[in-house]
Symmetry: C2
Subunit: 280 residues, 2 copies
Amino acid sequence: MINSGQTYPDRAALHAAEVHRGLMRGIAPRGESIVLSGGYVDDEDDGDFITYTGEGGRDSNTGRQIADQVLEGGNKWLAHNCVEGIPVRVTRGHQLDSSYAPARGYRYDGLYQVTSYWHEKGRDGFLVYRFRLERLPGQSPIGELREQASVSPGVGNALGNRNPQRELTTSSRIVRSSAVGNRVKQHYDHTCQVCGIRLLTPAGPYAEGCHVRPLGKPHNGPDTTDNVLCLCPNCHVLFDTHAIRVDGSLNIQPSNKPLVFRVGHSIHPDHVKYRISISA
Amino acid sequence: MINSGQTYPDRAALHAAEVHRGLMRGIAPRGESIVLSGGYVDDEDDGDFITYTGEGGRDSNTGRQIADQVLEGGNKWLAHNCVEGIPVRVTRGHQLDSSYAPARGYRYDGLYQVTSYWHEKGRDGFLVYRFRLERLPGQSPIGELREQASVSPGVGNALGNRNPQRELTTSSRIVRSSAVGNRVKQHYDHTCQVCGIRLLTPAGPYAEGCHVRPLGKPHNGPDTTDNVLCLCPNCHVLFDTHAIRVDGSLNIQPSNKPLVFRVGHSIHPDHVKYRISISA
């Protein structure tokens, strides 16, 4: 196990210690680790929360985005790890424009979970994939790591086995409930607005509230009934992963069937518009 | 907001402070709170984790179980709160046979989530409902409460508003992933063993690993492939809530359709037997 806070002088040392395989790319071959080193201007770093920009579409000389990114390669692996709940190792490099960057070299900062992904127009005007990562609990706080950080003598100092927490069990899916979500679910008697199914359990019917414009940073959707759909868990997964999408006429794509609304409930057009902007 | 650790001399004071409504029953009218006071010999208390026995079927004179419990009243409300992710306030009484019992009176110990429910034969030979509760994070540790506990002068001392954290957003469903679960899901190419659906997302197919004999206390099911089914989220919810059940011939009830197995995977009969014992 590699401890959070372990630092390495360069990418070669990171690679040799098997913290992050490869010398150039930010996303390791199967998305099991990423390095934040300031390559993408769209990255955001709040320590425990990171919004990480996917790979591809950049001019190798200027570093500017010159084409849309696609959900392939490292991007697809990070999306896969999101869906499967597979943790991702995060390393920060000294080049990073963040108060959490190490003074020198590269610091391994522990395991994060990819909690969502989407795409949006980046600063250069092309579509980029974005991944929201949250640091898993039960690790030394990121703030304390910053105090302890120091450049190690290199690979020889990477103690422990070479399989950093790879078998860790984590949650692959967390469904939040809220008073607002419960109101919408009751309005629809827990009937899915996409497929019409109603799951009946001995404890009552079951459905999930799904925010059209997602809650929390960086989307900052409101927790209001005009931003919540009542979905069954299957359609909720498909919606969250953008496998099904809502269009401007409130039809579900690619099936082209209408979202079913009941009198007294609607989704605000601004939230639909936002959703379309992040769902291809 | 009522702080964890607040103590009350008696049930009347608990009721007046709106921590737990009612003077006799362990489960409040809508399951929004419970009191642990040693009434049921089947209760287990590990502080942050509680296995709580439902209500009903007891002789009011002897306190012994004389009939099966049913999923009605307080039991149904606790199951409802499990499915909906609604937190439950927990109060411990001094009569409780637990190292977490207060020395005197009743201590409010904060918010817990009902993470699962099932039924089983209790010590007197009748079916009882059991509820697994886990203390929500972000509260003062239960160990520290014990040190601070002292009997308050009574109701007049219950500071703050009378709506203790009722609007708290929490998770209604957490799906754990594991290396073992992922192996089973790959074996089935993420096809649901109950309904045959395969959810395809841009990040790959999605399914959930479902333990037949649940993990963790008090079931202690193993995390092995012969204890895991590959289910879609909808069937997983139905299975977890015992809306659908597996029988001794590996048929799903009440539909009476067979669980679909692929060559190279089976469920150990002992785990099926255990599941049947907790699923009616």
